[in-house]
């Protein structure tokens, strides 16, 4: 093998490979994100007849029957590209735009799963909804390895005594 070929391979391994990985991660990550957002909007539309509120007492016009606790959760990870961008952003400070949509869609997904839990058991409304975020530890101590963020949504689901389910404007 002559030195030119060797150098080319070396160059690829040092710079080309991480760059390729970065670009692949960026494209796949973007596609996954866009599809997920579309699915979220579609389901939010579909479930809009089931009122979900964060009040800690039940709205007066709900006639409560049976009730139970419902939960929904999701663990998400950041893609390679986003982590690199966030790392760069950490140097100059400011808004980390790559993380915002990720946390947003995870939280909305958790809420949707909670609603699905309620619907599957035949409940008509959820109140006292609470959202929690917790960071899962890295599997290795060096800050590398896998880390995720868990979003948890929970609330009290009720069955309306009369089948009247108040329409709420989604906001």
């Amino acid at each position: 093998m002559d030195s030119d070929t060797y150098q080319a391979i070396n160059l690829f391994l040092n710079f080309g490979w991480p760059l390729l990985l970065l670009m692949t991660a960026y494209f796949i990550g973007t596609v996954i994100e866009r599809n997920h957002f579309r699915r979220i909007r579609q389901r939010e539309e579909e479930y809009s007849s089931l009122p979900v509120v964060t009040f800690d007492t039940m709205p007066d016009d709900w006639q409560a029957g049976e009730s139970t606790l419902v939960t929904g959760s999701i663990v998400v990870s950041l893609d390679y590209f986003k982590r690199v961008i966030a790392g760069l952003r950490g140097i100059v400070g400011g808004r980390v735009k790559t993380y915002e949509p990720l946390l947003d869609r995870a939280r909305r997904e958790a809420v949707l799963r909670m609603i699905e839990d309620a619907r599957a058991q035949g409940f008509d409304g959820i109140y006292n909804v609470r959202l929690e975020t917790s960071r899962l530890a890295n599997s290795r101590g060096d800050g590398q390895g896998t880390a995720g963020v868990e979003m948890l949504a929970y609330g009290t689901a009720v069955k309306m005594a009369s089948r009247f389910a108040p329409r709420m404007e989604r906001f």
Partner: protein, 112 residues
């Protein structure tokens, strides 16, 4: 959340059970579980970490764990003679690398 039980225990994260009256307090009930992720899941999650998105294995793991913590809390409430647990809260703490504790706590009460 379903309870496998002899008699059902109503659970809620509000201070009352809708449409019911609290007649007796039994005190705080807790349930916990500590879980470690297994290596297969960790490798899959590592791959998923390149492109981002949901870590399905972890989601399931945490859901199962939270379910179990809730069951234990309910079991404790049942042994006290309560028929409902109100003001339920969930919490997570990572106690060491790769292991997490999930716990649920609430107030055991009797409602009529």
């Amino acid at each position: 959340m379903q309870t496998s039980s002899s008699f059902p225990i109503a659970i809620s994260n509000t201070e009352t059970i809708p449409g019911k009256q609290i007649v007796e307090f039994y005190g705080v009930v807790t349930g916990n579980t500590v879980r470690a992720k297994h290596i297969g899941r960790d490798i899959m999650a590592g791959l998923k970490n390149i492109v981002g998105g949901e870590l399905v294995g972890y989601t399931e793991l945490l859901q199962d764990s939270r379910q179990e913590a809730t069951e234990r809390m309910i079991e404790q409430a049942r042994s006290m003679g309560a028929n409902a647990v109100v003001n339920v809260r969930f919490a997570t703490s990572s106690i060491s690398q790769g292991a997490a504790e999930l716990f649920a706590y609430g107030t055991a009460v009797k409602v009529t």
